[in-house]
Assembly symmetry: C2
Homo-oligomer: 461 residues x 2
């Protein structure tokens, strides 16, 4: 019996697309190409996921799990023979528990849907990222998503209390508890979080919720030196007493890009400082928190850390400030952007970026370089814009310039996007041979046939 | 060649104690019995740890790693034939980096030594627990220690940025980076954190540091109902905007125990409420934070959540409040305390404790029951005091009453103490057969000979 027919017998006629049907779907929400595969299964329950996986296990079929398809590293790419498991019909928010402050949801729930569902309960799910409308909770967990407020709330790993996972052979591992503390043996959920769908299929999650903040304060600051940026991070964090919720860095060229036409944004402060920082604090007392935020900025100004700053005076100002930071699509204007996501110690950032800027002309010729990122977490994003027709040729040369220098100070080739296929050649920059060997052993232990998301992160031994 | 001679050749004459020498050492800092083993190795470096493990691996010798020996679940117990690896000579704090806000230390550094070393830099390492003077950073990581401020800062897992581990065959896995975000493949450190020394030996750590708080506010509150306790947690967390750093619950009998002679403490408020809560916030602005803390308490009082409260007016008051909470040794007066560490949803706590109190007389006869714990994290500690001479006989009966009811609501038999030997029979209450099977597979993958801390957490397949 062929794959499509077999899977339809298991989970229903309309729950499986054949090769022709699935080829009408885009391969990713920002991609022009189409999906490839032998069958696309659309289970509604964990039991249906398990039955698909059992069949694939018995028949040696490769399985690629897909969520919102918002990934940037080809982590959910498929081959023509693959079974694609899309969790898009598993989008039930099962429980929101205001007392325990947790939510139970299926893995296909979009991030934004959960954010909005908990709001009426006075709660917040703090993970936040640009793709919130499409990215799913299961994908967020499988990739250990980061985003805008990691400095305060941590990454997705820090928000997952319980996890239900289907193993490659169809066995369901259900650890759906809501406990903050649980040292009963190995904490297996951490094995699956961030493993990019290579060890199991996440089907349901229990997520920690936080009391919703009642105050927001924001400022956009201009700084004369990178030393001042690093000092400002410490100063604000120390003076805001745990309420600093974002510290986003924008290098001058990126600031100018997003505050100049054709971008919609306009500069809240002059555009001639080398560095800009977007600061946010979240608290509970609008009056006292605003006082504290302004005091902290004043003392930073008196200490010579700030050259200029604009303080948001309304929710609309806050939205405008965030819109500048989020207007990343400007990097597409006028060429093709090679986009990077790296992590490095703050003491190394200035030298690293300056060195990269100095080395790129000889390595790849004419280009534009923009730098921004979640600076409070050590996470920089880079866009290197090159001519569209040269992009494929120049990509490996640019990657060499971006990634190779990170090895000297134990930087990461992936702060939050994952490895997928795109960064696989560069994994050894950030991980030693012994670490990659242990990753392979774990893969072999959990998925000895190598059927789940094959070839992602690393090749088999 | 015998074990002692062989190990002395590897790491030096004075770095290895023989069976007679090691038998002079206590088996734990609160234990009357002595260590048992064939040899006790005292390496000073990761390389020495690796050479000991290589030898043990080649000769099939069992290895038990020991830190400060403050564990409560027999997680570092040894057998006469074991090689004991004590990291007590590996106590160098190598780097404190105020800019990156991280510290690099050897695993044998006592927790309190790190806490004190970072203070002059205006930084804080927020893990804190009663055994701080003896418990080591390596042990904290191996057991994923919790303690007093998990509600704000998370458990040890949340504070470890980088880890160096020696695998059972002597291979060194060094992931000593200081990055908050690093999604470059599987995050292997989470495999070792909380694995109680069964998968590898942690030799060095990079730990995240926080800016030191500049303000502390504390109160001790009396409440008329458990519903009010649960509501107060939400109220204070929502109104303190992220600065709530401890929410410790004390049931009436425990409060009376620690505020009545022979205890040194005296009651800050009357002793006839059924529940007491110790509240702490840590912030950065002494004036505004005190205002906010008092406002939040006032509105809790107006909402009918609090019956009475005493606010700490000085550092000395704060110390006195904490001393009540920490005076756990009172449970030793007048009998033998069977001590438990469990985790459960807050909605279940009142019924659970009442049910336990009702069931114990029939199950174990005369006893005293005290309840307290890190209530904000869902973590309760229980002491069931029984006659000294009956303790061994009554222990399994008491365990049955404490642990079995947790299964109904996915509670944990170990919130923070780990499983060790003591809770091994009860692991199935909190973990399904499939989860335990996967734990065994991971153990088999990393330690196929089963040499590291054998028999702890679970038995081999």
């Amino acid at each position: 019996m062929d794959t499509v027919t077999a899977l339809r017998e298991l989970i229903g006629e309309k729950a499986v697309l054949d090769a022709a049907e699935l080829a009408e779907r885009p391969a990713g929400i920002w991609r022009p190409d189409k999906l490839r595969g032998e069958a696309l299964a659309l289970p509604r329950t964990t039991a249906e996921v398990a039955s698909v996986l059992r069949w694939c296990h018995a028949h040696g079929a490769r399985v690629v799990t897909q969520g919102g398809l918002t990934g940037l590293v080809h982590g959910a790419d498929t081959e023509p023979g693959d079974v694609i498991l899309s969790l898009e019909r598993m989008r039930e928010i099962e429980v929101i528990d205001p007392r325990q402050r947790c939510a139970t949801a299926q893995a296909g729930v979009p991030l934004q849907a959960l954010q909005e569902a908990v709001e009426p309960h006075g709660l917040m799910f703090p993970l936040d990222l640009g793709a919130r409308g499409s990215a799913t909770l299961g994908g967020n967990a499988a990739t250990n998503a980061g985003g805008n407020r990691v400095i305060r709330y941590g990454m997705m790993r820090n928000m997952v209390l319980g996890l239900e996972v289907v193993l490659p052979d169809g066995i369901v591992l259900s650890d759906m508890n809501c406990l903050i503390k649980n040292n009963a043996g190995y904490d297996l959920k951490h094995l699956f979080i961030g493993s990019e769908g290579t060890l199991g299929v996440i089907t349901r999650l229990v997520l920690r919720l936080w009391e919703a903040p009642l105050s927001h304060n924001m400022a956009l600051a201009g700084l004369e030196s990178f030393d001042a940026v690093a000092a400002l991070l410490k100063h604000m964090d120390a003076n805001l007493g745990g309420t600093l919720s974002a510290f986003e860095g924008l290098w001058r060229d990126f600031y100018r890009l997003v505050t100049t036409a054709p971008a919609q944004g306009r500069p809240p402060i002059a555009g001639d400082y080398p560095y800009y920082v977007l600061l946010e604090s979240q608290g509970a007392d609008p009056e006292l928190d605003a006082q504290r935020f302004e005091r902290a900025l004043e003392s930073a100004f008196e200490a010579g850390l700030l050259a200029d700053a604009a303080i948001a005076r309304s929710e609309s100002d806050c939205a405008d400030f965030w819109a500048l930071r989020d207007d990343v699509e400007q990097v597409f204007n006028g060429g093709f952007p090679l986009v990077f996501d790296i992590s490095l110690p703050i003491a190394e950032m200035e030298g690293y970026v300056d060195g990269l800027a100095a080395a790129l002309p000889a390595a790849i010729g004419e280009h534009k370089l923009w730098v921004w990122g979640h600076l409070g977490d050590g996470n920089l994003h880079l866009a290197i814009q090159v001519p569209v027709e040269a992009a494929e040729r120049l990509r490996p040369l640019a990657e060499e310039q971006v990634y190779a220098p990170l090895a000297a100070f134990r930087g990461s080739v992936s702060a939050e996007h994952g490895i997928g296929l795109e960064k696989k050649p560069w994994l050894p920059v950030s991980r030693a041979a012994g670490e990659i060997a242990l990753m392979r052993s774990l893969k072999q232990t959990l998925d000895p046939q190598g059927l789940l998301n094959p070839g992602k992160i690393f090749d088999p031994a």
